[in-house]
């Protein structure tokens, strides 16, 4: 995967100190970066801070960007590392995550308390996954990253991405099964459902 000619031109200009070129480059990706940071951190303010910090790091590191890599995945890798640093700092500070839910883009969901509750149940179970399993799940199933992008961002091969994703989904299924009482009404829970 390589950067587009337009991206390469902007990267070249940004490397020479053109900050507007850098902003043009990352502007269309802000929602994607923020979405990923938010899904991994689960706090709006912290996610915004982390995205800003990661983008400044990326700007300072433009000289080390190799043109044969995809610019977006290079940036996402910096973002992911910054997220991990932030999570480690939070652990050192003994902070409990305080989840803040941003408004959905899908206005049809607004005001539906039940939808929100379901989202909270699902996210509660996702947050119990190890980061090794949570990352590919969030990237692929929620944020829509491709296997190849995840492979490059996490620095693991595509087979490992798929294997971790399947383990994450299976683990999530088992965790959600344990929430079957809260999920009643959302999904038909069979009496014969195998114990997890």
């Amino acid at each position: 995967m390589v950067s587009t000619p337009e991206q390469r031109e902007l990267i070249c200009r940004a490397r020479n100190g053109d900050k507007a070129a850098f902003e043009t480059l990352i502007g269309p990706q802000l929602d994607r970066f923020y979405g990923l940071a938010y899904q991994l951190i689960r706090n709006e303010d912290d996610a915004a801070d982390v995205v800003q910090e990661a983008l400044i790091k990326a700007y300072r590191s433009l000289g080390s960007f190799r043109g044969d890599a995809d610019f977006f995945t290079w940036m996402a890798r910096i973002l992911r590392n910054t997220v991990l640093d932030e999570l480690k700092r939070a652990v050192r500070r003994h902070e409990e995550p305080v989840e803040t839910l941003p408004e959905s883009l899908d206005r049809s969901l607004e005001g539906k308390a039940e939808q929100k509750e379901l989202r909270e149940i699902v996210h509660g179970c996702i947050s119990q996954l190890s980061s090794k399993l949570r990352e590919p799940l969030v990237m692929f199933d929620i944020e829509g990253y491709s296997y190849e992008e995840i492979s490059q961002i996490l620095g693991i091969n595509i087979g490992t991405v798929k294997s971790r994703l399947n383990r994450a989904r299976e683990s999530l299924r088992q965790k959600l099964n344990k929430q079957r009482n809260r999920l009643a009404g959302w999904v038909k829970v069979s009496d014969e459902l195998p114990a997890s």
Partner: protein, 230 residues
């Protein structure tokens, strides 16, 4: 297959026969047709994935771009493109599929004092095999305005990003050496049998330091090389 074998394969099963292989896919399908518990697990898994895919897209806060703009305004210009990155775009340091072997050359570069010539000898490599070579430059202080020059003798060629030999046999560039060790990785290929030399020269004003790396290329294929200083 039994339930214990099938359950971990359900995720791959959803991705189709290409992920699981036709035989395993058929076996899982056969089991699912007969086992209500696993069939229910599969439905659950589909539901879980559907819930994940249905998670609403999160939009960045409206002021994030403006905040970033203000932070960027305080930033100095980014460091210019690293010369090593530029070099790596030209001559390749790949994880080659064709049995690459590594010769490590070390050049100790001191600005003052006598001029040593370091020779590195590798054991023979087969013809047409790509060889990864690391040339390390070590300095005890930052040195600006350094010229690097790497030349290959006739029987060697640099290798491009696809692992194919280039026509060029010399690269030179200006850069800087940071305190400590700077490693320049290159990949070359022996195209003719013989004892061929890689000459790496680093210059600062009138001072120069040279490293000779001898790569014997033999006609037949296979075998590894080891490295020793001479």
């Amino acid at each position: 297959m039994n339930c214990q074998q099938v359950e971990p394969l359900l995720g791959s099963y959803l991705d189709g026969p290409s992920e699981l292989g036709k035989v395993n896919f058929a076996k899982v399908e056969e089991h699912l047709g007969a086992c209500r518990a696993c069939s229910t697990s599969l439905d659950d898994l589909r539901w879980v994935i559907a819930q994940l895919k249905a998670q609403p897209r999160i939009k960045a806060p409206e002021d994030l771009a403006a905040r970033l703009h203000r932070r960027l305004a305080l930033e100095a210009e980014p460091p210019r493109e690293n010369w090593l990155v530029r070099l790596q775009q030209f001559i390749n340091w790949p994880s080659l599929a064709v049995g690459a072997v590594v010769a490590a050359g070390v050049m100790f570069f001191v600005l003052r004092g006598p001029q040593p010539v370091v020779g590195i000898y590798a054991s023979a490599v087969p013809i047409d095999q790509n060889v990864a070579v690391q040339i390390a430059f070590e300095v005890d202080e930052d040195v600006q305005g350094v010229t690097f020059d790497i030349r290959l003798q006739d029987g060697l060629r640099f290798v491009d990003s696809r692992g194919q030999p280039l026509q060029t046999q010399q690269v030179a560039w200006r850069g800087e050496l940071r305190r400590g060790k700077t490693v320049v990785p290159i990949t070359v290929r022996g195209i003719r049998p013989g004892r061929w030399e890689i000459l790496a020269v680093v210059r600062k004003n009138q001072l120069a330091r040279k490293t000779h790396i001898i790569i014997p290329v033999r006609a037949q294929r296979s075998g590894n090389i080891s490295v020793g200083e001479g």
